[in-house]
Symmetry: C2
Amino acid sequence: MKENVVICGIGYTRIGEHWDKSLRELAVEASLKALEDSGFDHVDAIYVSNMMSGMLQEQEHLGALVATYLGLRGIPACKVEAACGSGGMAIHQAFLAVSSGYYKTVLVVGVEKMSDRTTSEVTLALASAEDREYVISTGATFVGLNALLYRAYMLKYGVRQESIAKFPVIEHENALNAPHAQFRRKITLEDVLSSPLIADPLHLLECAPLGDGAAALVISCEEEAKNNKCDAVRIIGSAAATDILSLYEREDLLTLYATVKASQKAYEMAGIKPKDVDLLEVHDAFSILAPISLEDLGFAKKGEGWKLIEKEEVALSGRIPTNTMGGLKARGHPIGATGIYQAVDAILQLRNDAGKNQVDNASVALLQSIGGVGGTVTVNILKR
Amino acid sequence: MKENVVICGIGYTRIGEHWDKSLRELAVEASLKALEDSGFDHVDAIYVSNMMSGMLQEQEHLGALVATYLGLRGIPACKVEAACGSGGMAIHQAFLAVSSGYYKTVLVVGVEKMSDRTTSEVTLALASAEDREYVISTGATFVGLNALLYRAYMLKYGVRQESIAKFPVIEHENALNAPHAQFRRKITLEDVLSSPLIADPLHLLECAPLGDGAAALVISCEEEAKNNKCDAVRIIGSAAATDILSLYEREDLLTLYATVKASQKAYEMAGIKPKDVDLLEVHDAFSILAPISLEDLGFAKKGEGWKLIEKEEVALSGRIPTNTMGGLKARGHPIGATGIYQAVDAILQLRNDAGKNQVDNASVALLQSIGGVGGTVTVNILKR
């Protein structure tokens, strides 16, 4: 009875400091590429995922802005925001919209632009993902809150930092062959551990960088995709969940309840289990989120996610290739666009377009998008 | 095949300067009232409509914030933004979500808090609904842009200001009996025309006030409503459209194309015509938007909307009662919440709960929500 929802086109800019391009230009560039890739000349609605345009560009109403600059006058459009998880949430909303049957084809475009502002302005804007009145007002920063998780994780499970700090090393290796990645250079474990401490124990090279970028998807129903002869990837599971917003009110720091809940629902919808997943995109805004997410998504027992990293099971040649184009750390993390880049990277793999990073026989990909410190998590599962 | 979507519960705060309540407190108050009114003890998702929390409260991630403070840990939640039209857009997204069958019951809560900021800070934030780079940078304000429409309207159609400025007078009359209205006092046409000019020809009493408020709806499918014995109102039409964002690029200043497009689609979905509508909520952020909207929605010929105002056909006893609780001007205009208040006011009428303002035999209500100067318009049609 429900429509089968598919992704028919992808488009994206390189992630980096785009001093010569505005927010709208990035969004338009990615959108036009996605439309071209899909072969569709028309969409019925637009979802823009973005977190900080109000605070950083003093610009809201991105739905109408993007529709205007795409020359798509009239097309319904709105912005979807769920902090750093806006991208995954926009995919979920597009999934619901196409499932409803009221819209056949929708464009989802994620965009964020940070370069034009000072680091302290961006830090303040990012902190709006947590509770301004009761947490950020105490002086806590976003990286500081994640450092707390890191410390608690190492303490509780008796894990050495090396076992976690290896994750960005693997990601940088992957990004070498990702033309759209922000950082295409190798780093060593020693580089990571000797890079400056941002919030003890988090080193600079364990934190996703600031950057600008836009990525877009054309999402439609199976019938339209067939009519259009698209190289389509099906969304077989799509779910979202929230958790208590602030860490200080949670019973357990080391389980992101929203990841558990969203993934259970998405697995059930897809009719699969973690062992059926061929590749993974986890939201590693900070290295510590990788082992925790591997556990919460069911790829490792609680307290053992770090082993997958240490044994390089998350590398391209490992058991569960993760963040195959470099993830948030190396491909980049333009906040509202990040969840869309995850889909792009997965689809490059599922289409066998991943070049030197191609994972053999990849059929099922799982995308985890986190808002705040796990206040919101979406899980989308793709299959080709 | 598609679900019939109904509104099962309403909740709202009084609109005004809530110095003693924070944004989250307003949202929670309205949400709990809506849940109580609906009789539901559970929802499957939350949509928060808000425009300016980033710029005014330095707080994003309202989805998880509201879920947390409602005690609804885990429930999927996100923010929907379409400038001043966020409320109507959130209703549309909730409509799609319930239509999809993936969510049975959703909570929509609109909230905005402006009192804690200076008028110039709020003016700047409101201007983010228009194009920051090409329009607002020239010094244009939101009220200034609407003043251009006003001047063009009077010039083109040879209309005296009195015929338009009468609209807020009628609204203030309606608000006298609306306990939740920001301004419950009578004003005269003379009061309006002798109030300070904000942007010639717009007088102060033709402009919606700044204010804080939250309003919420519980939206579900017909089956759940029956199981729960709700006093439900059906959403028989729901549509959104955009227009070229900025006035300077439009061919015609005096037709809001997005209103025309969204209303045509909503009428078609509902299988009705304007003559079948019993009451109307138009987005009168400025008095001039009333006659233009009456025309674009099909209640008057082009250039003749003002006649419905002059002849008081929009009053409670008129042919098409409009903004029966005072509209944006007198009930109030807490931006992201406004579209939800429109639904609340209409449902009070459809349930025969409108007290002294009750319109006889009201069965069909149309709600128009505008973002920017018509950059986004949603039209939702309700029937009981």
